[in-house]
């Protein structure tokens, strides 16, 4: 009988096992980790999507773990991406130091994510949330360099703030309901006072918002994504950030839905999500490092997901959950591509590498499918989520939000093209002569995900089935679809069969036409052999156009970019430092002063023994 504790113990014990294996067998850690992840992935899929319940009483606290339709969706994402990430790491990390440490933390992070989605009580939710933060923090600082430490500390500081907000919300809930069970708290939530409701919802939303990198809480993400090893970054962006989305889904539809402020919560989150999507896209456009670019792109895409959830209509939620799955796939693909380029060239800077297409054709194909899917061009999976999101925005009368989303979505072409152009297209320089395609263990996960986004575009219904069930857990949401047709609330539809058929047919006809007798007639020439109006470029002349690729656009949005949240927080930090200087006058280090404070505090408590914030203490 498979139950949740079995899966969790496989992951956590497996993590320790991988660490031990690294001590005794060379390459032991990666094989152990891959086998463990595959086994745990199998268990996740074998676990009935509604069941596997297990409860454990620890004194007065009862821990309950159970799989629901909603958690099954996220668990599958974690399991698949986790396994592919570890598979990818096998060769990507080969020969690096501290592999036991790497795989242990990787498996701990996966186990913690599964723990989060399966938790039915707030204590284990918080516990696994912390384990997830810790283990991912360990992986951010993996390289041990100065930069990674900085990124790690930033990540940890924001995560800690998020965690404390979640903890405070849990404490407030417990004070009211006297129970840590999720179901109990949801049941009693509508009966709590308005002040409590606002506080709990905003604390939880902010706490989960940190993990899903919602602006203005996103500042940790670009550097943390950049510094973590690419095998893990794929999971970091693809699955770990989705834990925030998982939590936000619960906050919106399980807690906020039964309160008076439901509308306000949704509007606020929708606009925060929309602005996140737009601003993050603008920042992605001006990045010159591939992983940072993808990190901002990831922030932006999570913005779309938040918008979809916050709309609260069946189509919106469906769009959000579909995009959750799709984003997991295509962002993992792109991070893996960036990692592959890094492995072969030693850099992720978009200014330094170009012309890899003939050297790494399969990696290029992955990147191509990835960017087509991110940009939402039919017939790949990304398009369907975009289409549903726009229809949902239209049906809920979000006239201006849809424009914001459209700008974000169009501007995404700029950075996506830059990503693929700088790495794979453009001038082929001598520096990349030695580059080879990456090994099979890295290509397999990339190719698998490539086929997945193609499949998701052709048969969206297959993926919409588990999503529909997950929506049933969140509330009474009904949307209609067929295996290849998706409908909107206004009665519009898109038929993916016809779309893919048309595109495929014309593409094949065009290919036949271009290919006809072409093979022998033409020969391949170097990228120096180009039209340059009579000037013949010499062998060493640099014709690469990569630095400041998007300068025209950058100039156009310069007024918007002046404004940076990161700078704002840094300014705040500096001011806080000077404030803390004053605090030294309070904490004098003198015992008598402290004794006086204690007495003062007691006096204050006696005076104001009524209530604080309307909560009886």
């Amino acid at each position: 009988m498979i139950s949740v504790p079995v899966i969790l113990s496989v992951m956590f014990l497996g993590g320790v096992l991988a660490w031990l294996a690294n001590r005794f067998v060379p390459k032991g850690a990666s094989w152990t980790a891959a086998i463990i992840a595959a086994f745990a992935g199998y268990l996740v899929f074998a676990l009935p999507s509604c069941g596997g319940e297990y409860s454990l009483a620890l004194g007065s606290i009862t821990l309950v773990w159970k799989s629901t339709n909603y958690s099954a969706l996220f668990a599958m994402l974690v399991a698949v991406l986790g396994f592919l990430g570890i598979l990818y790491s096998m060769d990507f990390m080969a020969g690096k130091k501290n592999l036991g440490y790497y795989y242990m933390n990787f498996l701990f992070a996966l186990g913690a994510m599964l723990g989060i989605v399966y938790s039915q009580d707030l204590v284990s939710l918080f516990f696994f949330w912390e384990v997830m933060t810790w283990s991912s923090f360990m992986l951010v600082i993996y390289s041990g360099e100065e930069k990674s430490h900085k990124a790690g500390i930033k990540y940890f500081a924001y995560s800690a703030i998020g965690a404390y907000l979640i903890l405070s919300a849990i404490v407030i809930l417990y004070a009211q309901s006297n129970s840590f069970l999720l179901s109990e708290n949801i049941k009693m939530f509508s009966g709590m006072s308005l002040g409590t409701q606002i506080m709990v919802i905003s604390f939880l939303a902010l706490g989960f918002g940190v993990k899903s990198a919602m602006m203005p809480l996103h500042v940790w993400a670009p550097e943390a994504y950049k510094e973590s090893p690419s095998g893990f970054t794929a999971v970091f962006s693809g699955a770990l950030s989705k834990m925030g989305i998982f939590g936000l889904g619960l906050v919106i539809f399980k807690f906020a839905a039964n309160t008076e402020i439901f509308g306000y919560v949704r509007e606020t989150l929708a606009w925060l999500g929309g602005l996140t999507a737009m601003l993050a896209t603008f920042y992605a456009v001006i990045q010159s490092d591939a992983k940072k670019l993808l990190a901002y792109s990831s922030i932006g895409q999570l913005g779309y997901i938040i918008v979809g959830l916050a709309l609260g209509t069946p189509l919106g939620i469906m769009a959000a959950l579909f995009l959750t799955i799709m984003h997991g796939a295509f962002k993992a693909m792109l991070f893996m591509t960036a990692g592959a380029v890094y492995m072969r060239t030693g850099t992720t800077s978009l200014n330094d590498v170009s012309g890899l297409i003939t050297k790494m054709p399969l990696t290029f194909l992955t990147a191509l499918f990835g960017i087509i899917s991110v940009s939402g061009i039919p017939p790949l999976g990304g398009f369907i989520s975009k289409w549903m999101l726009y229809q949902a925005l239209l049906e809920t009368n979000h006239y201006f939000l849809i424009i914001v989303i459209f700008i974000a979505s169009t501007a995404a072409f700029l950075y996506l093209y830059r990503f693929i152009f700088s790495f794979f297209l453009g001038q082929k320089e001598k520096e990349v002569e030695h580059v080879k395609e990456v090994p099979w263990s890295m290509l397999v996960p990339m190719m698998f995900l490539t086929l997945f986004v193609l499949f998701a575009g052709l048969f969206p219904g297959v993926i919409l089935d588990p999503i529909g069930k997950a929506m049933g857990y969140l509330g009474n949401f009904k949307a209609s679809w067929e295996p290849q047709v998706v409908f909107s609330a206004w009665g519009e539809k898109i038929n993916m069969q016809v779309i893919a058929g048309t595109i495929g047919t014309i593409f094949i006809l065009g290919a036949l036409f271009i290919g006809y007798k072409n093979k022998k007639a033409t020969r391949v020439v170097s990228t120096k052999d180009i039209h340059t109006a009579g000037e013949i470029p010499t062998e060493n002349e640099n014709l690469t156009y990569a630095v400041n690729f998007n300068q025209p656009f950058e100039r156009a949005i310069a007024p918007i970019l002046k404004w940076s949240v990161d700078k704002l927080f840094n300014l705040l930090g500096e001011n806080l430092e000077s404030t803390f200087e004053y605090l030294r006058y309070v904490y004098t280090g003198n015992g008598q002063t402290y004794a006086m404070y204690v007495i003062l505090m007691v006096v204050i408590l006696i005076l104001f023994s009524g209530s604080i914030f309307g909560i009886h203490l």
């Binding site: 297409i357 191509l368 940009s375 939402g376 061009i377 039919p378 398009f383 975009k386 289409w387 726009y390 229809q391 009368n397 006239y399 849809i402 424009i403 459209f406 700008i407 169009t410 501007a411 072409f413 700029l414 093209y417 693929i420 152009f421 297209l425 453009g426 909107s488 206004w490 519009e492 539809k493 898109i494 038929n495 016809v498 779309i499 048309t502 595109i503 014309i506 593409f507 065009g510 290919a511 036409f513 271009i514 072409n518 007639a521 033409t522 020969r523 391949v524 020439v525 990228t527 120096k528 180009i530 039209h531 014709l543 690469t544 156009y545 690729f549 300068q551 025209p552 656009f553 156009a556």
Partner: protein, 303 residues
């Protein structure tokens, strides 16, 4: 197979051919008009046909790799697919093709498919001018997309539909054309249309005198011919889309040609008398007055 299937198949063949013929003829007329404005005589109207036929018959000697082959194929795929999802004539089974299986939002994305494909093809050639052209073109797209989408959103929320066929259905009768029902949306959309057609002052992408035709500079022979074919079909598709949305569509080919020609003259005549913007000026142009008109269009519908 029954007769309706045959009509459908005939439609799939006739539609792109018509689009090609009309598009290329328009191209020829534009060359004549431009010449007359510049006090030249200009080539015959059929010149573009001969150019394309000549290019198709030429052999290509060199290429830079797979993506360069795929670029023009992507372009023709996008333009013909877009055309198939636009109802060319009203209530005519021959010209409807696939238009009930997609909608405006789908078309917005489908239309980008070709540009991105072309951009990828141009990218592989390694020509810096191509890359510069692509960066400009994509940036310009973000510019004109804003007023265009504002206009479309205004119309979509007014009639609660995203289907082009349904939008055509509500425009029965001259006075019900959307150009009169929502004039501000039309103004915003037509200003965006200027950018979409890449005529001056928004010809930053191809800018012949500046970046040697940008993305197209490494393509010759049947690649160039395929790109020109795709360009002509795409021009026609965009014109039909605008006619369908704002000018009530057309019941027969003659009406369609009159309407599309008049519409086409707006960017052409603007282009002839204007110099070129810098890219960032072009982008910010769209974010000023056209956007304001688009917002007004939405506010009118909402209030």
């Amino acid at each position: 197979m029954d007769s309706s299937t045959w009509i459908k198949i005939l439609g799939y063949i006739i539609t792109p051919i018509t689009a090609f013929v009309v598009g290329v003829t328009y191209g020829g007329i534009v060359r004549v008009i431009t010449a007359r404005v510049q006090n030249r005589f200009g080539p015959p109207i059929t010149q573009n046909f001969w150019d394309i036929i000549k290019l198709y018959s030429k052999k290509t000697a060199v290429h830079h790799g797979l993506m360069q082959h795929w670029g023009p194929i992507f372009a023709i795929t996008a333009s013909v697919t877009s055309l198939f999802f636009i109802p060319v004539l009203k209530d005519s089974p021959l010209w409807l093709n696939n238009s009930f299986n997609g909608d405006i939002i789908f078309l917005l994305y489908m239309m980008v498919f070709g540009s991105l494909g072309m951009a990828l093809g141009a990218g592989q050639t390694g020509n810096p001018n191509s890359a510069i052209g692509v960066a400009r073109g994509l940036a310009l797209m973000v510019g004109y997309e804003v007023p265009f989408v504002l206009a479309l959103v205004a119309i979509m929320i007014q009639f609660k539909t995203t289907s082009i066929a349904e939008l055509m259905a509500v425009q029965d009768g001259f006075s019900n054309w959307l150009i009169f029902q929502s004039p501000f949306a039309f103004i915003a959309a037509i200003l965006a249309f200027l950018g979409m057609m890449h005529y001056a002052p928004f010809d930053v992408t191809f800018a012949p005198a500046e970046i040697a035709s940008g993305p197209a500079s490494e393509f010759g022979g049947k690649y160039l011919a395929l790109m020109q074919t795709s360009g002509s079909i795409f021009t026609f598709a965009k014109l039909v889309l605008f006619t369908d949305i704002f000018l009530g569509g057309a019941g027969d080919l003659v009406t369609l040609i009159v309407k599309t020609f008049l519409l086409y003259m707006i960017p052409v005549l603007t282009g002839i008398v204007n110099p070129r913007y810098r890219t960032e000026q072009a982008i910010t142009f769209f974010w000023k007055w056209p956007t304001v008109f688009g917002i007004i269009a939405i506010l009118i519908v909402v209030l």
